[in-house]
């Protein structure tokens, strides 16, 4: 087990190094100079842009040799300093991420986890019940293959504008002040619901289809047939099937949770809901080196952590992994 873990850790460290290096390099070699991009939109007195430009170049140290910038980047990374955003100057990247990421988490984590749990249950049910399958499969396919943008607009139009139950945008009403009180929490919940619901529904279908197919596959494997011929009860066979079928789903769940940082860009666009995803797209559009770096750094760390967690969980839920590393198989 120690061997298994140490090998994994080494691989992750190497991956981290290369990912972070790429993350540093790509925006800098991509076309588009973030500072002149920012400046061209300002309306200032002629000559004012030149003053701002030299101010920014100095502030961000962009006049230093690239190699020096690269080493400086690693140095500050280990100090926990992600730098200052160019497009959102003078806000530090870390506080931009901190302010925004909470909105991604409250929308995405419940949507992912609940859709995973319910999707797997429904999928497993659909896999063993022909009758339910006939009804559920079209629904799953509809949910998973409808373009999110269109689907969310439809839901927003129906529940928001036609029925007028839920507000169509933002995190809370314009007349609300954030505070620890019932009125605000209720208002916040109403605004949270449609972004959550749409994400929950579109993901539900995918999980369910995956699980259903796994169950059908597992119940047709040799071990299942063998158990059947031994006279094992169907429930038992299904339980074994579920245990095997859940393995790829666990990986999928971990990756989904790991990419929470990249946010639900489309959700945020359709509902003008705050969050990191949209910020990240904007950062890329404006080639904001530091904000891109910061967002992707988090993404890299989260994905690696998620994968690592899966690796550990697999040791518990899949005995084959455990045994292969302890040399038993």
């Amino acid at each position: 087990m120690g061997r298994y873990l140490s090998k994994k850790v080494l691989i992750y460290l190497i991956t981290f190094f290369f990912a972070v290096t790429l993350n540093w390099a790509v925006p800098r070699f991509a076309p588009g100079d973030p500072i002149s991009m920012l400046l061209s939109r300002f309306v200032v007195l002629e000559g004012g842009r030149d003053i701002l430009e030299s101010f920014f170049v100095k502030t961000f140290g962009l006049d230093q040799p690239l190699l020096q910038q690269y080493f400086g980047f690693w140095r500050s990374l280990f100090r926990g300093d992600l730098g200052i955003s160019i497009s959102q100057y003078p806000k530090p990247v870390l506080s931009i991420i901190r302010d925004a990421i909470i909105y991604d988490i409250i929308i995405l984590v419940p949507a992912i986890v609940l859709s995973w749990i319910i999707g797997n249950k429904l999928g497993a049910f659909s896999g063993v019940s022909k009758k339910a399958d006939n009804f559920l499969m079209p629904v799953f396919y509809f949910l998973t293959s409808s373009p999110y943008f269109w689907f969310a607009l439809l839901v927003s139009y129906l529940l928001g504008i036609v029925l007028g139950i839920f507000p169509t945008s933002h995190a809370y009403s314009a007349t609300m002040r954030p505070g620890w009180n019932l009125a605000f929490i209720a208002d916040f919940f109403m605004h949270w619901f449609m972004p959550f619901l749409t994400l929950f529904l579109v993901q539900l279908g995918g999980w369910a289809i995956g699980m259903r197919n796994m169950i059908i596959y597992e119940t047709n494997t040799n071990y299942a047939k063998y158990m059947e011929s031994l006279g094992a009860r169907e429930r038992l066979i299904r339980r074994y099937g579920f245990r095997n079928g859940i393995l790829p789903q666990v990986t999928g769940l971990a990756i989904s949770l790991g990419t929470v940082v990249s946010g639900a860009v489309l959700t945020q666009m359709v509902f003008s809901y705050p969050g990191l995803g949209y910020l990240m797209v904007q950062a890329i559009k404006q080639n904001d080196y530091f904000l891109i770096q910061g967002c992707f750094l988090f993404l890299i760390i989260m994905v690696l952590l998620a994968n690592f967690t899966v690796d550990i969980i697999y040791m518990f839920i899949d005995p084959r992994v455990r045994h292969s590393y302890s040399g038993e198989v």
């Binding site: 003053i51 701002l52 928001g160 314009a174 009125a183």
Partner: protein, 555 residues
């Protein structure tokens, strides 16, 4: 046991908390959108990317400016004028106070300007010909110039936020653009209340000095929402969770009556014009280096089709000179008549043929006089749907007269990089063509002299090089507004721009505005011009504050 106490505590605090909602009522709140695109990160008026509303709501300028009437309205100033060739004198109003109760006097004005003399700020270039800013007494300031840029001064008068000396004198020079100024103290009608990731909220300052002079703004709070997509803005208008939208929303002419939306004009062009959208031609590339070729292009396109198909008549076609609003005071009708352009594809073809551009190899496309082929790419940023559609129409028009032109849509960042470094054939652009107090800003953008550099950021992306024109624009800046000489120079500039055609003005982009009347009425319109319905950054002093004063709560 412990868990039960926690639950109890939570419930009690929730119930207690629910009585502590301090927000203004909906019918005292004005919700706007369209001017803020990302979370505010700075409230520092010295940094140009500071929160929308800092200029106008919190800090104020000496004058306001109305693009509708082209008038400078005395704001902090009571009056102002040139008392000699090189001295501009401002008389300040009495009884102006900052929100911390300190009076605003001549010393604050002098300080604001000297700050840019002693430090590198965006308005430091003023000091290239400003000699001294002098407080004659507590309420009189004199600006003494070496050789005044009269035209630029017209713009400066409504652009500079007057800062409280007693606060900013304590900020070290190197921090002037760096500090975020989280608690801005200005003289304006509103104060910062809160800034969230999806909104900025401003609260009325009931002690505003202007209440006695101009009247009190009606909304107790202004909530400026960040809205990522124009269809969200439309949804909010329908739900009445947005009072004023400053987004370009396709389809407004068709739905405005259905949803009770107010626009400036009831019929076309619906919107006030805000800036000139031009086809910029890269005069560093063949055959766009040939003025005859550039001019012929202007005759090939029918901008009416763009206005009709893309904008549903929400924008008007531009005048040949590109002048609109107050700038038209300088328009030379004779020059426009003689050198203007209009849609005439046959004439365009003839002009090209006369200049030697014909199809030499018989492939259907016009070639260079030496026989080498011509093909162009027209670029606009990807995702700017209205402009994307426009250049499809323009490319089609060029192809109709035998010029091989194709639209392309690079990402916004790449678009900026390409136009700034001159790596393009043609592009649509309007960055620096916004309405202002002087056509100088327009001409100095279209034909800026500062083109010999890697990144061109002051306009003239096509790098059109004509020292005579540059000199005329410089000279125009140094002539008193509407003087005979300034009009003569203006005519000369218009003529050169039309004959040389470095960029072709096609249509006037709108100051998009749609409002709903569920909570607020008396919106400014063409028939009832009680302000300027615009929540864009740096536009609040264009008459938006007057709109706030004239709004009426709906019954």
């Amino acid at each position: 046991m412990k868990a039960r106490w926690i639950v109890l505590a939570v419930v009690v605090s929730l119930v207690l908390g629910s009585t502590a909602v301090l927000a203004a009522e909906r019918n005292q709140t004005l919700i706007v959108g369209g001017g803020t695109w990302s979370q505010a990160t700075s409230w520092n008026p010295l940094y140009p990317n500071c929160a929308n509303g800092i200029r106008g709501l919190v800090y104020e300028t000496l004058f306001a400016y109305s693009p509708l009437t082209n008038e400078h309205k005395p704001w902090l100033a009571e009056s102002g004028g040139w008392i000699s060739d090189n001295v501009y004198e401002v008389k300040l109003r009495r009884n102006i106070y900052f929100s911390d109760g300190q009076p605003l006097t001549a010393a604050d004005v002098v300080f604001t300007y000297e700050l840019a003399r002693d430090n590198e700020l965006t308005y430091t270039p003023l000091w290239r010909n400003l000699r001294e800013v002098k407080a004659v007494d507590n309420y009189t300031v004199q600006f003494i110039f070496d050789s005044p840029n009269y035209q630029e001064w017209q713009i400066e008068l409504y652009t500079r936020d007057i800062l409280p000396k007693h606060i900013w004198e304590n900020v070290p020079g190197e921090d002037l653009m760096v500090i975020t100024n989280d608690d801005p103290v200005g003289s304006g009608p509103y104060k910062k209340l809160l800034a969230g990731p999806d909104r900025n909220v401003w609260v009325r300052d009931d002690n505003w000095w202007g209440n006695a002079v101009f009247g009190q703004p009606k909304p107790v709070e202004i909530v400026d929402m960040i809205i990522y997509e124009n269809n969200v803005a439309l949804g909010m208008l329908m739900q009445r969770t947005l009072d004023l939208s400053n987004y370009f929303i396709p389809g407004v002419p068709a739905i405005k009556d259905l949803y009770g939306l107010t626009t400036w004009y009831d019929g076309p062009p619906y919107m006030i014009s805000a800036n000139v959208a031009m086809l910029v031609l890269n005069s560093q590339r063949k055959p766009l280096d040939d003025a005859k070729f550039r001019r012929a292009l202007a005759f090939a396109v029918n901008p009416e089709i763009i206005v009709e198909r893309v904008f549903e008549r929400m924008v008007p076609v531009s005048d040949s000179t590109g002048l609109f609003g107050g700038w038209t005071e300088y328009r030379d009708a004779q020059v426009a008549e003689e050198y203007g352009f209009w849609y005439d594809p046959d004439l365009a073809k003839q002009m090209l043929a006369d200049a030697g551009y014909v199809d030499k190899n018989g492939d259907g496309w016009i070639d260079m006089p030496d026989g080498s082929p011509i093909d162009f790419e027209i670029i606009v940023p990807s995702g700017w749907t209205d402009w994307m559609e426009s250049i499809r129409i323009i490319a089609e028009a060029f192809r109709a007269i035998g010029i091989n032109a194709n639209p392309a849509f690079p990402d916004a960042g790449l678009y900026d990089e390409r136009i700034q470094t001159g790596d393009f054939d043609m592009c649509i652009n309007n960055y620096g063509t916004g309405i202002s107090g002087s056509p100088f800003s327009y001409w100095n953008w279209v034909a800026n002299h500062n083109i010999n550099r890697t990144h061109v950021t002051e306009g003239n992306y096509g790098r059109y090089d004509n020292q005579e024109l540059f000199d005329l624009i410089y000279k125009f800046n140094q002539l008193p507004p509407l003087s005979d000489e300034s009009l003569a120079v203006a005519s000369e500039i218009q003529k050169i721009l039309l004959v040389e055609m470095p960029a072709i003005p096609f249509w006037l982009n709108g100051m998009w505005a749609q409002s709903t009347s569920q909570y607020w009425t008396n919106w400014p319109t063409a028939d009832n011009p009680v302000g300027y319905p615009c929540s864009w950054a740096n536009n609040w002093q264009f008459g938006t504050v007057e709109m706030l004063i004239n709004l009426q709560p709906a019954q």
